[in-house]
Amino acid sequence: MPVLCSSCGDKRAVLKRPKTGHSLCKACFFWAFEEEVHQTIVTANLFKHGEIVGIAASGGKDSTVLAHVMKLLNERFNYGLELMLLSVDEGISGYRDDSLETVKRNQQQYELPLKIVSYEELYGWTMDAIVKQVGRKNNCTFCGVFRRQALDRGALMLKVDKICTGHNADDIAETVVMNVLRGDIARLRRCTAISTSSEGDGVVPRCKPLKYAYEKEIVLYAYFKKLDYFSTECIYSPNAYRGHARTFLKDLESVRPSSIMDIIHSGENLSVRDGVKMPVQGTCQRCGYISSQSLCKSCVLLEGLNRGLPKLGIGKHHRLHDKILTQQPLTEKEERKLKAVHF
């Protein structure tokens, strides 16, 4: 016996909503999904009329749905935004080159301008080359740090006012769990924020319009809308520890589907005791990017690559920052510690 839509009470339901347990038909689901993203955008005051907004596009499900919905809502509700797609080419053959093809198709389907910035042009290193030097253990660190800056650099080239990313509710909940497991109280406190204000020169404000959208609904939205997205795992091994958190989260969701939202609610209502030390945000003395150290992570990682000491940016070597800044050579002992990565 087919279940009927709890909204129109008329058509056959096609999905059970994890957030609320309701069953919706296709049309009512589309409407509710889009309306909810719209509500998020409006109540969180994410954009202003006339702004230029870069959509971080990877070709994956989240950013594909984000681009689709942003374009649709911008027209439906007359946001008056100028939308662009912004992609980062990490230089991973067999993965990113394929997914960028998806982005290029999206560009045509949605008729949005597209800017691709590559690690190679920004840093002189592709991820393929980085993996060759550092091995597969820590390459995600490089990729994550470089991408954050790459998006900002791309945004500056395009002169966009804001970047929106495809982080969904599951991603946010996972980050809350990760920060608890890492004991990272500073990030735990801010990771549920829906937008970051401009933190300094060279940093473009970011926001997450899909913050309250479940991954399940994003995937089904893409499926029912027949959106063109790319779904291959990065060929370089993903972060194993994060994998544990992901599995835990999916298990939680299967026990109580609202858990994802419940975790976000927890994150939004955490209160850190007065007097707990927080890192002070400053700027990198080399490139001017925000950093809590004298050198930003990206510059340290790059220095490590260029000096052939890949471990420089892995773990904590803050006391070496002065030496790097003044371009002094490292001692032999220091060099030996930072050379190849063998675990």
Partner: protein, 497 residues
Amino acid sequence: MCQVEEEYHGPLLREELPSVSRQCVKCKEASAAVVIRAGDAYCRGCFKEYFIHKFRAMLGKNRLIFPGEKVLLAVSGGPSSCSMLSQVQEGLSQNAHKKLRFLPGIVYIDEGGAVGQSVEHRQRTVEELRAVFRATGFPFLMVPLEQVLDLPSSVVLSAPGAPEQEAGAYKAAVDHFLLSDGSSGVTAGQQQETPPPEVQEAHTHSLQRLLGSARTLTAREELLNILRQHLLVHTARSAGYSKVMLGDSCTRLAVKLLSSISLGRGAQLAHDTGFSDSRYGDTILVRPMRDYSAKEIAYYNRMFSVPSVFTAGLDTKTADKSSIQHLTESFVIKLQANFPSTVSTIYRTSEKLQSCKGSASAGRDRCLLCVCALDTAAENASAFSATLISEQLSQTKSPEESRQAPEWTAPASQCCSIVRGELCGNRGRGCCSSAKASEPPPLRSLLCYSCQLTIKDMSSEEVLPQYILSEAETRLRRSQLREEIRDFLLEDEADEG
């Protein structure tokens, strides 16, 4: 997806297994008997000293337990609370190095009825524990959980506590205590052999019906925790105890922290996992075992013959995914096996949190069940309001469906005024489509976010104990009254609603 916004502190490395040194790291003489953390191997003697010191240090550091104060030890029979009991005994003994100076009593809550144990089984457990308690010389109470059904409504009110102690108060109290009669009164009273109160079968049935009305084990466990805590606080209050000591270990608290987060209790984390929990105002819950890992406790109890009595809980022998609490526990324990710093890292977070911002005034602005400040003000763009919006949108017709009703517009509201026209492209309809989300049913409005989830998992609210239902009625009547006279109130008073 990859996390765009993160820079890693470097990976969480598996700690290398230390080569097991044969000697104690402390005295460097005796051969090691127990490895506490990677690399820390202690001999028997040094381990005992370290364990005992840690208990005093925890109490000394927090300066919360005053000399001469009556302190109720909540002992479940499990290894951790039994270890706590033995530490209190140790600390009060004449030859203790830094003598503890409070007056202890013990309470055991017999939950056998909740987990469906036979009367004989429950009696056996009670007798075993009675023997353990009798040996301490402390006064003790054996309270069947069924008694929770007869509690007064005052339990779910946060009573005004002692005024905030000034910095010097603790020291002054210690000096005063030493001057007056530091020697007498080791216990909070004499041991009395009162027969355990009769448990009526009908009461056991009501309790089982209450817990059974929870459709999920997750909700059942939450409910049981709440009832247990109410009964503990009530027992303490009526017997004149101002502190209740709980036996939560570091391992237990790490699990609790993560499961509390998963249950939407972020705002209540500091209460749920901190050293002291003052949500009840006059009666403060403290967790002096929070620095010990389950492993340390197990070793200590075994080496120094601390007796404990196994009692089954709701989740004993259930599958990993039977409840959120159980799933979290097995997740943390498995992770700890691979990454030995997991528990201590999670646990340290609990030290850095404080209870809910804008600490609500004592009394009725608190959750009817867990007695923490309410965290359900539906602020704009919060997970709570997003869920309410989803609930509403999943029940109303989409505009396509209701095309015949073109006058469909925003219910008087919110969003336009909030965005001040900066971004409100609505042409007649749309923007404010669902500003005011549906009101939760009455009783639910008196609960915090997480307890609302618990109640949502129950088939009926009617089975809740009378003390909760009647307090609910009182609160709802008051808020209704407030609503009715709203127009007559002065502006600033009306705001608080």
